[in-house]
Symmetry: C2
DNA sequence: CGCGATTTGTGCACCCCTTCACAAGCGCCT
DNA sequence: AGGCGCTTGTGAAGGGGTGCACAAATCGCG
């Protein structure tokens, strides 16, 4: 945990936009709102209510309002939120106004899929360079980018001003790659390798682990099976769950 | 969340193993412990202390002990945990004692990578079937499996007793695919498409969204840049911050 | 056989997050 | 202009998770 809290930096009442220090949970949901807003904008909506947006993003409307209030959002009571304005606000807060350059290390099975993914560019990210250690990979061209040897990372990193590193190597190489990324000044890493990375303070690491997701699902599957197996005392225990709707499921959150 | 909650089903003090109803945060960490334990087992360790395991899993040792205590784990004071025993315990709780069959829908860019991933089998999951809607994909053989048309899902699902569905189609098709999966009895879905899925209560959905991860990293990158820009009042305000772990499923930098 | 070193299990306090419920604000219609 | 319905923004309550700190338990050794 590097930070996300500023016990010592209260207001800094400068003339600057005054970084609002958002709750981490809120930050994790903003991209979700952003996507929903883009969908709304494309379908011609100019304003949207918290209820409508919350629905589109799969969250509680009160939660959404509180999230937006954290970033000092400007909604209009009785009307809702201006879609275009809100998009700008969120993109500004997330730092998406500038296009960020991503370096992808490990162009194997998964790396190929990532390199060929067009979802990067459409969200303001640019894959600036591909790296691999295997001679058989180096030189290969994917989507207009040539795979370079990982030793070239220092040079390319400064040239392209990389701000995010993505690791898609086997777990055994991930820590070494992370060290190399950190060494060239990368302070944000997305790790697909199933392992824990040690990085200096100030460097953020997020991981995506397929096996973990499946195992979590497995647990719930297991539990659901156990529950239906023993129908409890009263009989139909599957009725009368409060909450009414609650169709969608998130995590994240969560936990996931 | 759909369920994970039992306001009406208290103890059920039966003689059965008595499903412990674990905290969700604990469930999300168990797979991490499991991987660390497997690594330890392979390197010859027979026992491990909470400190050692916590270190290997990248968490606080107190948190690890509490997690394990939740599943009524048997450690030995003064010694630690028996690695093999703990592996069995966790796998049992996660429902990994039986091999779960996975159906993968959408064999495109990402789907290919997933289909060719050997990390499934090694974690107790078996890709039982591949589906796609495009005629150009159907019939293709990947890793010994033939891609079938998605219309065959009902038949194959019953034959293979699918317990988890993975969606790797474009977002526009994801809801329809989810509906089809639910229709054939799948109650756990892993969704790679960047969209919100509506599913009936009792069905678990977990999502993996690359764009969201990158945008969260972007936010922190943005904030770090803003902080270094204005060195605040006193001077070095960037020293030692105590840890308050974030709530979502994220995990961040640990010093050394 | 007892003692100290070691490590687990957990009570507790704190903090973050979620959710409800409602007052305040805004636009529209009469 | 004024009232009315709709929606935002937020205070407060409740729940869950985290990590400290310590008592209880176990082993090895003298
Ligand atoms: N394929 C998937 O669907 C999938 C899913 C989830 C997680 N993962 C994880 O993602 C990672 C990559 O998976 P994959 O299937 O692409 O594996 P892969 O073996 O196909 O590709 C790994 C690539 O990394 C390169 N590499 C190895 N060491 C390197 C180094 N030190 N520097 C730079 N490049 C290096 C290899 O040359 C290879 O091209 C693995 O850790 C895997 O567990 C993969
Ligand atoms: N490629 C990546 O690295 C990546 C990363 C993150 C997320 N994603 C997401 O994963 C999804 C798949 O990405 P992709 O790059 O593989 O796309 P893709 O277009 O290469 O593959 C999509 C596949 O789904 C199939 N399909 C379409 N409609 C279908 C239906 N109704 N039923 C069954 N199959 C259907 C298509 O025929 C195609 O083969 C997308 O939603 C994408 O946003 C991809």
């Amino acid at each position: 945990m590097s930070q996300h809290r500023h016990p010592g930096t209260p207001g800094r009442a400068g003339a600057v936009p005054a970084l609002p220090d958002l709750p981490e949970a809120t930050v994790a949901r903003l991209p979700e709102y952003l996507r929903a807003l883009h969908n709304l904008a494309e379908t011609g909506h100019e304003t949207v209510s918290s209820e409508g947006l919350a629905n589109a993003a799969g969250v509680n409307s009160a939660k959404l309002r509180k999230d937006l209030s954290h970033l000092g959002s400007y909604g209009t009571r009785g009307v809702g939120y201006d879609v275009a304005l809100l998009i700008d606000q969120i993109e500004s807060v997330l730092g998406l106004t500038q296009c960020r350059s991503v370096a992808l290390v490990g162009v194997g099975n998964l790396g190929h899929a990532l390199a060929g993914y067009d979802g990067f560019a459409s969200r303001g990210f640019r894959i600036a360079a591909l790296f691999d250690a295997s001679p058989s990979r180096v030189g290969e061209e994917i989507n207009g980018l040539v795979v370079r040897h990982v030793d070239e990372l220092p040079r390319v990193a400064t040239e392209e001003s990389i701000s995010i590193g993505v690791i898609a190597t086997p777990a055994s190489a991930a820590q070494a790659v992370a060290d190399q990324l950190v060494a060239v000044g990368v302070t944000s890493i997305l790790n697909f390798a199933p392992c824990v990375l040690s990085v200096p303070e100030g460097v953020d690491v997020r991981k995506v682990d397929l096996a973990i997701e499946l195992q979590i699902l497995s647990f719930h599957e297991h539990r659901k099976a156990s529950l239906t197996a023993l129908p409890a005392t009263g009989g139909s225990a599957l009725t009368a769950l409060p909450g009414g709707l609650a169709a969608t499921d998130n995590q994240e959150a969560i936990g996931t």
